[in-house]
């Protein structure tokens, strides 16, 4: 009768068969994540909107592209690369920034919203454990948003590249420099590496903390997430005149510096910058992941006890 009945043609047949008494953990996880995407559409709308806004601006800027390209061709190779690649790095940064903002607000609402609107009573009436629910919610900032960001950034960069090529071809400027300076396949690998190491693994304890606060706070989850942390910094400063906690926090927010080596000069091969071995052996990563696991375990436990607010 509508798209839904078309999408699930097997269900009338399935119901004839005796339903299995247990549903696999992956299926529970799949539906829990889908549920999150239905509820928080900003997860994909925000990065897509960021990409669209950027593309719109980029489209207008292509008027000057032939002139800019001619100027860039006159520069030495290192500067040429920087000039050509800049918008491509900007769009990646913009979409990742949008994803971080979405992730923060998503986490703060994830275990709070369901208590506020009492729907937790409905979710708990279904055979889905608190562990599955919390893990599915944690997977949004750590997995779903990163994969989405990756796909959207790569797609946007390709659209930009093809658009630029078309404009340059139309104005008779060589596109060779554009294609040699932008090795999009290579930047995609680096982007994925950056998303996995920094945005997922390194930031995991931050998202864990936000999820925990959203499961705990009765109201003003954002303030509860920020103020105690700020309070620790202030108390430490006043009491001991030190700022270890603030330094640690800054290090966490700045992102796993161990993941990449700072290039000494113009990199022959940017892939050489990636230092996964160094990243994986840095204590900061593992301490962070342990803290993340502890926050998540606490969030699971809290959800068991929590009632509607």
């Amino acid at each position: 009768m509508n798209t839904q009945s078309n999408a699930m043609p097997e269900s009338p047949l399935e119901s004839q068969v005796i339903a299995p008494a247990v549903i696999s953990a992956t299926r529970l996880m799949y539906w829990s994540v889908r549920r999150e995407l239905w509820e928080s559409r900003s997860i994909y709308i925000a990065p897509l909107a960021a990409a669209a806004v950027f593309l719109f601006g980029f489209l207008i800027s292509t008027i000057h592209l032939p002139a800019k390209m001619r100027a860039a061709l006159a520069l030495d190779p290192e500067k040429q690369h920087a000039a050509i690649a800049m918008p491509y790095d900007y769009v990646a940064g913009l979409i990742m920034g949008a994803a971080v903002i979405v992730a923060v607000f998503y986490c703060l609402d994830a275990l709070h919203g369901e208590r506020r609107d009492r729907s937790i009573l409905f979710w708990k009436s279904l055979p889905v454990s608190d562990l599955t629910t919390v893990l599915s919610k944690a997977s949004i900032p750590l997995v779903v948003l990163q994969l989405l960001s990756f796909a959207i950034i790569v797609a946007t960069q390709w659209i930009m590249l093809l658009l630029s090529s078309a404009v340059l071809l139309g104005s008779g400027v060589s596109v060779a420099a554009l294609w040699t300076q932008l090795s999009l396949f290579q930047t995609s690998v680096m982007l994925l590496y950056h998303l996995v190491t920094v945005h997922a693994l390194w930031y995991a304890p931050i998202y864990g903390w936000l999820l925990l606060v959203s499961g705990w706070a009765r109201r003003a989850a954002f303030l509860w997430a920020v103020l105690p942390v700020a309070a620790i910094c202030v108390v430490e400063k006043i009491a001991f005149n030190t700022s270890h906690f603030a330094t640690m926090l800054g290090g966490r927010l700045a992102g796993g510096a161990e993941a990449v080596a700072v290039p000494g000069g113009f990199p022959i091969d940017p892939m050489m910058q990636l230092t996964p071995g160094k990243f994986l052996s840095s204590p900061g990563l593992w301490i962070g992941l342990v803290v993340f696991a502890a926050f998540l375990a606490a969030a699971v436990r809290l959800r068991r006890y929590r009632e509607p607010i």
């Binding site: 008494a21 539906w31 609107d117 729907s119 279904l126 055979p127």
Partner: protein, 300 residues
């Protein structure tokens, strides 16, 4: 087979005792009405049964500990907490997809069948539906789940009389069979009187009355008498007395009285089975007001 078994169930919130040693046994195939004033502990008892709240004491639901095994238990237990718990953002098709995805005993075709009898559109969001339609939707989902125990906590609160009647009608006609068990709490006691097989009164965290409907019909009766005959009937020691339109209605518990029967009361006026609400008032009135008197009576 026993569906719910509780022994010494206790729950304390701060200084408030919500459940004060509840013993409870519900057999398969019963429709139990849990009746009690506000704050009596009904919802707390149901929450304990559903694994939503920790408790002290022993509790087994379908042989499982609800607090530690909630997710497994929910394969066989359904509940409607009250009308407003469906997430407001969800669309009807999303709700059906999701429940079909996570619930092993959900029959989507059945749910579609129930929904076809309503005016609920597949693409509507819950927030766009009226309160009555949300209740219909929730009931359609729950009735399509082949559960063994259904818990309804004020399922018809705030619905108009048509929806309320329809709710219980479809529950009885399309859902209930002797292998299922239903527990329901409501303040609209009169409406479910002929739906129930058992009734339980709860007050101040204790079960104060527990009786099957057959027993209730054979054990309790009330007689409406004119003022001039009241004294004679009062001599038979009724458990409760109330005035309606200048007449007195006296309620008797035949078990606690010797030789008082239907025949003995018949000459004084119309003898009938009391309604659950009248019995409730009688039982709770006695417990609250005449506790001392009753104790003295018991001692005598």
């Amino acid at each position: 087979m026993t569906v719910i078994e509780a022994r010494g169930l206790r729950k304390v919130f701060g200084t408030t005792i919500a459940l004060d040693g509840v013993d409870l046994r519900v057999e398969e195939g019963r429709i139990l009405g849990l009746i009690g004033p506000n704050g009596a502990g009904k919802t707390t008892a149901l929450n304990a049964i559903l694994g939503l709240t920790p408790y002290q004491g022993e509790l087994k639901v379908l042989g499982r500990d609800p607090w530690t095994e909630r997710d497994q238990l929910m394969r066989d237990v359904c509940f409607i907490a009250d009308v407003a718990v469906l997430p407001r953002w969800i669309r009807v098709w999303q709700l059906l997809d999701y429940v079909a995805g996570v619930h092993p005993r959900f029959d989507r075709r059945k749910a579609e069948g129930f929904l076809a009898k309503t005016t609920i559109g597949r693409n509507s969001r819950v927030r766009e539906l009226s309160k009555g339609m949300v209740a219909q939707l929730h009931l359609a989902v729950v009735m399509a789940i082949d559960a063994r125990l259904l818990v309804l906590d004020e399922p018809t609160l705030g619905l108009d009389i048509l929806y309320r009647k329809q709710f219980y009608d479809s529950l009885l006609n399309d859902y209930f069979d002797r292998s299922r068990t239903i527990i329901v709490t409501t303040h609209q006691v009169e409406e479910i009187q002929n739906v129930l097989t058992d009734v339980m009164f709860i007050n101040r965290g204790r079960i104060v009355f527990d009786c099957s409907m057959e027993e209730l019909e054979s054990r309790y009766l009330e007689v409406m008498v004119l003022p001039q005959q009241v004294a004679a009937v009062r001599a038979l020691k009724p458990m409760h007395e109330r005035q309606v339109l200048g007449r007195s209605i006296l309620l008797f518990d035949l078990m606690t009285l010797d030789k008082v029967g239907r025949q003995q009361l018949a000459p004084f006026g119309e003898v009938r089975t009391p309604s659950i609400s009248d019995l409730f008032v009688a039982v709770l009135g006695n417990k609250q007001g005449n506790q001392a008197g009753q104790q003295a009576q018991g001692a005598a």
